[in-house]
Symmetry: C2
Amino acid sequence: MGRTSDGRERILAAGRRLMEQRGYSALGVAEICQAAGAPKGSFYYFFDSKEALALAVIAEEWAEQRRAWAAILEGPDAPLRKLRALFDSTAATQRSGQSSCGTVSGCLFGNLSLELSNQAEPIRLALQDIFTEQAEMVRTVVEEAVARGDALVADAAGAARAVVAQLEGQVLFAKLYNDTGHLDALWTHCLALVGAQAQAA
Amino acid sequence: MGRTSDGRERILAAGRRLMEQRGYSALGVAEICQAAGAPKGSFYYFFDSKEALALAVIAEEWAEQRRAWAAILEGPDAPLRKLRALFDSTAATQRSGQSSCGTVSGCLFGNLSLELSNQAEPIRLALQDIFTEQAEMVRTVVEEAVARGDALVADAAGAARAVVAQLEGQVLFAKLYNDTGHLDALWTHCLALVGAQAQAA
């Protein structure tokens, strides 16, 4: 199995891939280890349980996605341009996933929220933190837009949650219909939700 | 087990309740039969498979919800009032579910879309039909609003999908945070998505 660190990384990567494709409940530890090319015994050397693996997958996925969001939303561009870039990036990620595995796999956090949030409290709390942080990152940019007069919404925090909800809802449709075209109008709807005009971006 | 028809209804009701609480993959036929108070053998008398049960649960749930949506959206009220009543009804359903079982169970169709759509093609197709019909029902009302000058959106079909996406996204948050407060602002965001002013409703 190579170096110890390799084993953990391979189990993590296999867990992430399988969870994106098939959710959490349908997976068994044996299957994850087989996909990772790791002996089953090694799983429990690295992770206490399947739930612990899921928490590690979620943390790693968010660390990576958070870096991408921050690079876009905390950059020097005009606020509405940054929001638009976020949607373009989301759509590009879903299109790339569809090209490589044939189906739109959606948002891992949204998938696990609807599959698991009423069953696994530690996973619920981790996902709550992620969506709270996403909404905060968007709120900051909406407030920048309002300060510049580019957006007119009164409740920036509410509008930011609505933007993230719209993203999750449309990604749900993209996954269900296996059609990333559902993401094409995200920008139009985001402008409406923050009270902005198309020309401002 | 009483009359034959009782057995099918009891298995359906137990399947629906358990699927709302715990999703699809985590359930076994034996557990469903136990919850229904039905012998395991009787399951396969009524249903070919767990997937067949899920399809029956989905069809029954949509038949019921569709009646409720039609009663609201096809009624005589002004179009924006009808949309508002739809959101009030959705929020009331989620609050009532939370009161009775302690947690917000969310939207069965959204839950199964994210858990299953890439794994069970017949379920994917059934859910696609439901969301397509929901978006069509909302589109008709948005077009009525536009015809009266109560809404200004150019693409009524796109706005209707965005409204349903917003509903699914906010219901996802209500489930994840176990807080129906996430549904309070649905109406504000719907008005923004269809290009309407609050006073019009």
